[in-house]
Symmetry: C2
Subunit: 250 residues, 2 copies
DNA sequence: CGAGGGTTTGAAGTGCATCAAATAGTGTGG
DNA sequence: CCACACTATTTGATGCACTTCAAACCCTCG
């Protein structure tokens, strides 16, 4: 699992990505501490970051790449909880329970991570209402997304779930057609959407027939976005575009 | 939907339930404010508390009874997000988005609610790290539960999901057998577990055959808890008993 | 060029949903 | 306290969606 140049830590980092809403409004002194104690690491695809029940020391922020969060049963069946990219964080559960991870995490592509020591973060959270509020907001948002995920898996068909996934990757520029690039391999997308790779393949074909999309490898051309919306969103409680969700993803 | 004596508000309440971890560590002055501005209301079964996209004014805490949280699609299909009882809160999303509810809420039984004004809460959250931390903890826990829910719905059979539901209602007293009472009607349990009532009924029969349980109305006698655990938890990534989950539920 | 993983396709099976109808259970007014 | 009305629950029959197992294909990368 471990890859050649994993954990190429640089003890200090020069800058936090400025887009990190999570730390907006934090004091300069805390930011300085962060920069001193956070570390960056580079990983190839397939690197196991931690496994469920591991003792947790850091919260991780994805700087670039993709990270798969998952749980697995005794018999090896795997359930993908989420797949994260830039500016998303994970491992935060350990702040509030007894300090162990609740799921496993693995890179799904070449990935750069920022590790932030939990003890530093916890201390600051207990003192700094701004940071806490940022976190609260992020957690509430995550929770909402999970709730929608549950909803989707129970009332949408596999083809509709794929349609929804595609639409969330689509820029909202008012154009009739759009072209997108699947962010990671189809097997992982399938797992992320709670279906088998075979089912994914077949459901995508069905979607092609029904909604005028073209698929070539990992490139998807949506001829008529509205047609896809009609097909996809009829079984969804939200109306398209799904305003608030994953606005910063992909 | 509205029932006779809904909204029997008493402008002030005499005491917050002392079990409310959420407000542990808050200043006496804030608690006093809370008592002045929070209100209690009594509702019969079937009272619609708010609907998705309603403007939100309060966070609600269940004092007694049961509340169903759900979303529905255009065609009327309903997805149950959660069913809450004592000491659980809902409506908190509105603190962090533009102040509208993300789901609908309805009482599933005779229920007493405590309503806490969002603006008061938000102000305090932005000043009081202790309160924020309590909330963070609660949200992280909720998120974890949602993640497990997603896992369960994708890899457990209907009978196993029911078994899991039963086990979570079971007191962990080391006895071989146990007797429990279903907290709300089977149709709602089915919806809560993401299946049809017919499927619930059949899956429960299957469970009876496989694990020596007896069902009479809403009373369930589990002859051999371990047998049920074996049947149920084999497809779960957690080992029984599911330590941290819903420890205070039902 | 060949190896290996990702992806597609085929055939068959299974679990759950759906529709329909019977039965049990609960609260109501008489 | 009983009969009725209405809802909750069960049961049966059938269909469809997704899974599973197997095999072929494709594509990338050494």
């Amino acid at each position: 699992m471990s890859t050649p140049h994993s954990k190429e830590n640089t003890a200090t980092i020069t800058a936090l990505p400025k887009e990190l809403e999570l730390f907006q409004g934090c004091s300069p002194s805390f930011i300085k501490q962060l920069k001193q104690s956070a570390s960056r690491s580079h990983h190839d695809k397939g690197h196991l970051i931690f496994v469920s029940d591991d003792e947790a020391h850091s919260l991780y922020i994805v700087i670039s790449g993709w990270v798969k969060l998952f749980r697995e049963t005794l018999d090896g069946t795997e359930a993908v909880i989420d797949v994260l990219n830039d500016n998303h964080f994970f491992g935060e559960h350990a702040l509030f329970n007894n300090g162990v991870h609740e799921y496993s995490a693995e890179t799904a592509d070449k990935t750069v991570l920022l590790s932030i020591p939990l003890n530093l973060l916890k201390r600051e959270l207990q003192q700094n209402p701004d940071l806490s509020f940022n976190f609260l907001k992020a957690l509430a948002q995550k929770q909402h997304i999970k709730e929608r995920e549950i909803e989707q898996r129970s009332i949408q068909s596999t083809a509709q779930r794929i349609g929804c996934f595609l639409l969330r990757l689509t820029k909202q520029d008012g154009k009739k057609s759009a072209q997108i690039h699947l962010p990671y391999d189809k097997t992982l997308i399938a797992a992320r959407l709670g279906m088998q790779p075979e089912t994914f393949s077949r459901a995508l074909s069905k979607l092609k027939q029904s909604t005028n999309i073209e698929v070539r490898g990992s490139t998807v051309k949506i001829e008529d976005v509205e047609k896809l919306v009609n097909y996809t969103c009829s079984m969804c409680s939200h109306s398209f575009p799904c305003e608030d969700l994953e606005k910063d993803k992909a």
